[in-house]
């Protein structure tokens, strides 16, 4: 087996289809580890992983923390409040400080697009982007692809509809880039104010009517509507959004009868998704959480080792 071609994961664009398949195949073995009586393997004993979170994110941080711990790595969580720092300078200083601690992997979440690339350019260790501004969230895209592949048996040529705040969503961007590697048709649906002006450059089909966007969809990805968007006058009211773009028993009928429903969380029940759908049998929302740990274990496994030829075992 060839060494994995990458040492860092900054965005999806750098991955080939073969890279993505390698990550997803490796994730299968780690899903099984999380289902055993002893949910831990000794693989990364003695390795150090730093979770550097400039944005609050309990679920992503917990997922990375659990992934590292289940591989026996030492995991350090650093939460930095963005308001107390002036970004440029301090991020550089933080990089120097962290480098002196000799970590093997840094996982970074930051409100500024490009923060992960910046850190990777300053530090010699592996860097995993856990979300940077509106740019990318590659591990979310990979765990979504993993969940879809397990549920549908394949990724190729599916119709995937992403509903919600597309313009501000790094999840939508990364998912679109990844799923296009597999020939999926990507559709985005939302109010005009929340659709990106350059949606066509993503290679996606844009709809502002939910019924049309959902027609014969295999996968429906529902995005969180952030209440801040109300203040920015991009949305008139949550109630109106729910009526027009909310996924409920009535609207889901436009998708394929066996369409699967996903949501990266945390959900606003009653806004972008109704409880009867979120808790229904076609919802894979909890499977996504389980997949998140497996995919992140696979990435840490692929990044945290030295690439060299294996010596004889027997």
């Amino acid at each position: 087996m060839e060494p994995f071609a990458h040492r860092s994961l900054l965005d999806v664009e750098g991955l080939t289809r073969a890279d993505a398949e390698r990550i997803l195949d490796t994730s299968e073995a780690f899903l099984q580890v999380s289902r055993r009586p002893v949910r831990k393997v000794p693989t990364l004993r003695g390795k150090t992983i730093i979770n550097l979170f400039y944005e609050a994110s309990t679920r992503t941080r917990t997922s990375f923390e659990l992934a590292g711990k289940r591989l026996s790595a030492d995991v350090i969580n650093m939460s930095v409040s963005a308001s107390s720092v002036k970004k440029g300078e301090t991020l550089q200083d933080t990089c120097r400080t962290l480098e002196a601690m000799h970590p093997d992997v840094i996982v970074i979440r930051h409100a500024a697009a490009g923060a992960a690339n910046y850190v990777a350019s300053k530090i010699g260790c592996s860097v995993i982007n856990a979300g940077d501004g509106m740019h990318a969230h590659p591990t979310q895209a990979l765990l979504d692809a993993f969940t879809i592949r397990r549920a549908r048996g394949r990724l190729d040529n599916l119709v995937v509809t992403i509903v919600g705040d597309i313009a501000h969503s790094r999840v939508a961007r990364s998912n679109a880039h990844l799923l296009k590697l597999f020939g999926c048709e990507i559709r985005v649906v939302g109010p005009r104010t929340l659709l990106p002006s350059a949606a066509d450059s993503l290679g996606v089909r844009v709809f502002d009517r939910l019924e049309e966007g959902l027609e014969s969809a295999d996968v429906v990805m529902v995005l969180r509507i952030q209440r801040e968007r109300l203040e920015g006058a991009l949305l008139p009211s949550l109630r109106e959004y729910a009526r027009t773009f909310g996924i409920g028993p009535r609207t889901i009928q436009y998708a394929k009868p066996d369409a699967i429903i996903m949501h990266p969380g945390p959900m606003n029940r009653g806004v972008e998704i109704e409880s009867v759908i979120a808790d229904g049998e076609r919802s894979l929302i909890l499977e996504q959480v389980e997949a998140g740990v497996a995919v992140r274990m696979a990435l840490l496994y692929l990044f945290a080792g030295e690439a060299s030829q294996p010596p004889a075992v027997g």
Partner: protein, 200 residues
């Protein structure tokens, strides 16, 4: 071992490591009949050693031990009437050099579809060499539960141990030089065979 394992993935790549212009002698040291007799003898020995044990299970070590564990289970079925449960372990995540050689090995899933706690588990591998694979397999097994006893069966014992490990059931002892290779082909392309490749 690692070289022979990966080369088993595709038959055409078996001898690809051989430098050009270096002739290497190959010898079939066990043919299909001899392998079948060894498997039968090991199956009988396992049944005798664990007689009265209702909780006998087999776990093949990927990749070389998987086909062998199935064949041993088939032979036990002929003696006892029904085969013991068979599982597999992948030791990639438990290698003692995992932190330095990753990410080379492709990990296959371990699959033990039964509870090992309190049962007799026979680990099965094709070739016993340094013992490091077996150590890793024991550690992996223990993360599934606490077996009453762990046994070890190997079709070939080629010597060269680097850890205090020995097999309880051995098909054939083949003392060979460190530079020589032993490749076991069971239920693969072509007839079953064990091939010794001498150093060039």
């Amino acid at each position: 071992m690692a070289a022979s394992r990966s080369s088993r993935l595709e038959a055409s790549a078996v001898f690809s490591h051989t430098p050009p212009n270096v002739a290497r002698t190959q010898k079939v040291i066990l043919d299909a009949d001899a392998i079948q007799r060894s498997i039968r003898r090991m199956a009988v020995a396992i049944v005798e050693a664990t007689s009265g044990v209702e909780d006998l299970t087999l776990v093949g070590i990927r990749r070389g031990g998987v086909a062998l564990s199935q064949r041993i289970a088939d032979e036990i079925a002929k003696v006892e009437g029904s085969p013991p449960p068979v599982g597999t372990v992948d030791i990639s995540l438990y290698r003692d050099d995992a932190a330095t050689v990753l990410p080379n090995p492709k990990i296959g899933p371990s699959d033990i579809p039964f509870d090992v706690a309190g049962r007799h588990v026979v680990l099965v591998d094709d070739v016993l060499h340094t013992g490091r694979t077996v150590r890793a397999a024991i550690e992996c097994l223990q993360d599934y539960g606490r077996p009453a006893r762990v046994w070890l069966a190997a079709l070939c014992d080629r010597g060269g141990r680097e850890l205090p490990i020995r097999a309880d059931f051995v098909g054939r002892v083949v003392e060979i030089e460190p530079r020589e290779r032993l490749d076991v082909w069971i239920d693969a392309a072509g007839p079953d065979r064990v091939v010794l490749t001498e150093a060039g």
